[in-house]
């Protein structure tokens, strides 16, 4: 791989950074909010309902990094940055294939 020169300006674009930050924020705060709501429901109302909400929260949290890869894949495709689109796609493939393999093994 060739040496690559980066400056604070070309590390990414302003709109790319904004989109990715938004996805990360929704994933982190949204899932923790669900965990809190689920915990309160579990303690005060219904154990079963609370557990369900908590499971959705944990799954959203665990899905956020993959949503972030998909977001960057689309942003790189949109910017016609084929090199980093291919890299993002490969990372996505590794994560999906390994989790399917890992669970089956």
């Amino acid at each position: 791989m060739a040496y690559e020169k980066f400056t604070p300006e070309n590390q990414g674009s302003k709109s790319t950074d904004r989109w990715v930050a938004l996805i990360l924020r929704i994933g982190a705060y949204g899932s923790v909010a669900l965990l809190l709501i689920g915990l309160l429901l579990w303690a005060a109302v219904s154990g079963l309902l609370g557990m369900r909400v908590m499971r959705v929260g944990v799954l959203l949290l665990m899905a956020t990094p993959v949503l972030r890869i998909i977001t960057l894949l689309f942003l790189y495709l949109h910017a016609r940055d084929w090199k980093y689109a291919l890299i993002s796609f490969t990372v996505l493939l590794i994560v999906i294939v390994s989790s399917i393999l890992g669970i089956k093994l």
Binding site: K5, F6, R18, A21, L35, M54, L61, V66, S99
Partner: protein, 262 residues
Amino acid sequence: MTLVSTLILAVVGFLAGSLGAVVGLGGGIIIIPVLALYFHLPFPQAIGASLVSVIATSTATSSVHVERHVANMKLGMTLELSTTLGAALAAMVAHSIHRRILGMLFIAFIGYSAFSLLRHMWSARSRETETEVSAYTVRRYPLGLAASFVAGAFSGLLGVGGGLIKVPVMYLFMGVPLRVATATSNFMIGVTAATSAYIYYGRGDIRLEVVVPLVIGVFSGSMLGARLAPRLHAVYVQFLLIGVMIFLAVQMALRIASGGLN
């Protein structure tokens, strides 16, 4: 799942998260031994719980780094090619490795982390912290990919983030400014931890009754820690954390010697 155990787990997470955030470490290195030693959780479940809290803190803090344009997402995504491979392979073999060996590896990792913290404290006395990031050329991608593979493998095997392996390599050998290296490593940790977390989840090692209070505690603790950090004398917190780490390492060694690690 009882109310008392839920509250205690949330407090443990809060303490680990806030201590970690002040010093710049994830909470995993405290959470895992505490869960294994005092909550008598099987080692894989302690690791699974830590992985999910690592995803939470990495996601929340990197959203700030990305918004401030400090994290280099292109470099991060490139190195994720190998962190994810390392994490997946390690998570797959983790359950066939003897718990005692995993425990000893963990103790070694605590030792390495304590040593890195001490060395960082020593060099921080003289070096000015950089504020402005200037242009830089990233070199030695193969070395970076190899180090990221190792960091990913440690993450999948031990449930830690692995920042202490990647950051020095990016900073010292790849020509990445320290601030960018730290932010980029943090950015990568979410994907790395998620890759192994799926495998732990599939095996049933991510238990809601442990994970939920822990994540809430770690998340709120790290937010408080990040706010407090600029106002605290970090040296005292670093010494406190090193003390806690050494204590936990000794306790784990004793537990392994008596054959009591689940």
